[in-house]
Symmetry: C2
Subunit: 199 residues, 2 copies
């Protein structure tokens, strides 16, 4: 399984140090303030060395964000409404984690939007991003299916559609309208989705 390494091995410290510096710049100054030239210079390496590891700035930025997001878990209390509200809040907190230093809470649109665009520019970046979502959504899907099996939710409910309604509304607010996402909104959102709109 372990591929035999040929040729001169990479300096191991470089990856960690570059990610550290890139994280610092991204969180401090936002996506536009993250410069590959500056990261390379501060890390004391040649730009070409950086580009050998991350073929574009977009790849580097995604790597940074992945490290910031890899902590999510989902709690299952048996109260589906409460669990979904918690899940929404966790997503919002994750988005908030990549807002610019000094920026208003709930206003992380810049970096998120740039990453979405990055995913559209490079297939592999988009694929990696989608994997992040897929893993998280798989957990949430199980949550919903559990509730459905014990009779709390409609038998014909498609968990994916419900999740898209909920997470979609969140992202719509963050990316498009720019309105903040707080717990009060998460509660209204989940309540509306669960109870439906029909009289």
């Amino acid at each position: 399984m372990t591929e035999t390494r040929r040729g001169r091995p990479r300096k191991a410290e470089v990856d960690a140090e570059v990610l550290r510096l890139a994280t610092e710049l991204l969180l401090e100054r936002g996506y536009g303030g993250l410069s590959t030239d500056e990261v390379a210079e501060r890390a004391g390496i040649a730009k070409t060395t950086l580009y050998r590891r991350w073929p574009t700035k977009d790849h580097l930025a995604l790597a940074v964000v992945r490290r910031l997001q890899d902590h999510d878990e989902i709690t299952d209390t048996g109260d589906i409404e409460r669990d979904l509200v918690d899940y929404m809040e966790k997503i919002a907190a994750g988005l908030d984690r990549m807002r610019t230093a000094g920026g208003d809470p709930g206003r992380s649109a810049g970096t998120v939007a740039e990453l979405v665009a990055a995913g559209a520019r490079h297939d592999d970046v988009g694929e990696l991003g989608r994997e992040m979502y897929a893993r998280r959504n798989a957990l949430a899907c199980r949550l919903i299916e559990g509730a459905r099996e014990r009779g709390a939710l409609r038998a014909d409910l498609d968990p994916a559609v419900l999740l898209e309604q909920l997470a979609g509304a969140l992202y719509y607010r963050v990316l498009i309208t720019g309105e903040p996402v707080d717990r009060a909104y998460a509660e209204r959102l989940v309540a509306t989705a669960l109870r439906g709109a029909l009289a």
Copy 2:
């Protein structure tokens, strides 16, 4: 009301011609393929003349898209479910209108994502974009409120939340998961949102 113009007036044909060329490039090659240098050269004007009218490439691209999108109307048949499905399809069609030439239908993520990012980069671009959405959503809100007043929808329903659920799910698919949006999906989505998830 009409401000008296001082100084040399702008050449009127330039605006139309630049928008024409920019539209062509944007639809043909996508956001990255739209180059201010090339537009200016093809239009036979100096780059500075272009930048006097649109202060950044992002502003120019938004102007192009606004022209492409200004046709939307909403039909009110009295059947709220059908009207909402139609509305979802109109949004999807609008997104599709700015996909790259030769690209798969439903795969307009690139340009849309870049525009969202552009809105985050420049406050005024974001504001203009939000105005586009606000106008369209105001119409849809009236549709929903009409249905609510005649008793078809819950009295305590917040129209804005319902709209965010629906449009949000659409954009979530287009921007994040990259899955296509067709009429079948619109129907499932609206049905789930209206009937709710609870058993």
